[in-house]
Subunit: 101 residues, 4 copies
């Protein structure tokens, strides 16, 4: 099952500047073959379901190893069976519609 | 890794009354040994990480089999290493604090 | 516009035990006339849209006053125009379907 | 109160191709002065809290006017009082850390 996901991870019980933790998870994602794109509230991740959830688990493990006592993730998972679609397709389709008016 | 999760699943491209789909996913959850509690915007699910994500995948499969062309889930995943905590602990701790004032 | 919402607030940059912050936001919610129900990953809140978002803003202000340098909320907002529905309706409809099989 | 938000809106009870609805909400966002960036699972929106939540409400109204009987939004709201930060700051800080290794 192919999934277009969005991974938004937050360490709890650490300092307010969480970018080192976000970067650590980002490295985990970039070490895979999954398509990914960082944004201001998470990272779009696309590929096989099992790999996407494995990456999420690995991020939790890494953040705990870095010292975060608690880690919270909001993981959005979108699957479809009617046709193939990539995360780029999603964005370009909306952008096209916006140009038409 | 133990996780307190929240699974919120939505079929897209079907009728507005989505309760049969929610109930189908709820059955998948209840067929496991995971702790669970249905609320108005999803279901709290607690247990081993791998079982929680396996249940989520199974829900997507079941909803597609029911005819939903698209399925979107928002899965919240909370892990902690400082101490053990159940979903009941979380709620009762807040309720206690509320009584103190 | 009537909304069935779910408010999940997390203070960042504070200690790992966040229940005093959750309780403070819960007090803000309970000081209104909005229907509410605490669960292990947030609070279901139901009522007029403007009141629900006002409560969310007030929770952010209160948590910052308590010393949280950063506050993150995931707010789910569900509206419908086809018919009236309460958060209790949502749950009981799913529970009924589960009993039928 | 300044907020870095993420708005992810889904019409329920309509066809599986929801891009016209996403585009309609995107137009509402682009008609404001809020900073915004579309991604594959929503739109980052940044600016004053009240404007961000007003845009969200307007998107719900517009989607209902387009015929969606139900509309669900997941709105992430991030505020901080320790220092100013834009959504571009967030991304560039993580990108910098990734280059360092």
């Amino acid at each position: 099952m192919h999934v277009i996901a969005d991974l938004s991870i937050i360490p709890i019980g650490v300092e307010a500047s969480v970018s080192p933790y976000i970067a650590a998870c980002e490295r985990v994602i970039r070490d895979t073959n999954l398509k990914h794109r960082l944004h201001a509230h998470g990272t779009n991740v696309e590929g096989p379901w099992d790999e996407v959830v494995a990456v999420t688990k690995r991020c939790h493990e890494v953040l705990h190893e870095m010292g975060a006592p608690r880690v919270n993730t909001t993981l959005k998972l979108g699957t479809r069976t009617d046709r193939e679609q990539t995360m780029d397709d999603r964005i370009s389709k909306v952008e096209e519609l916006l140009k038409q008016q």
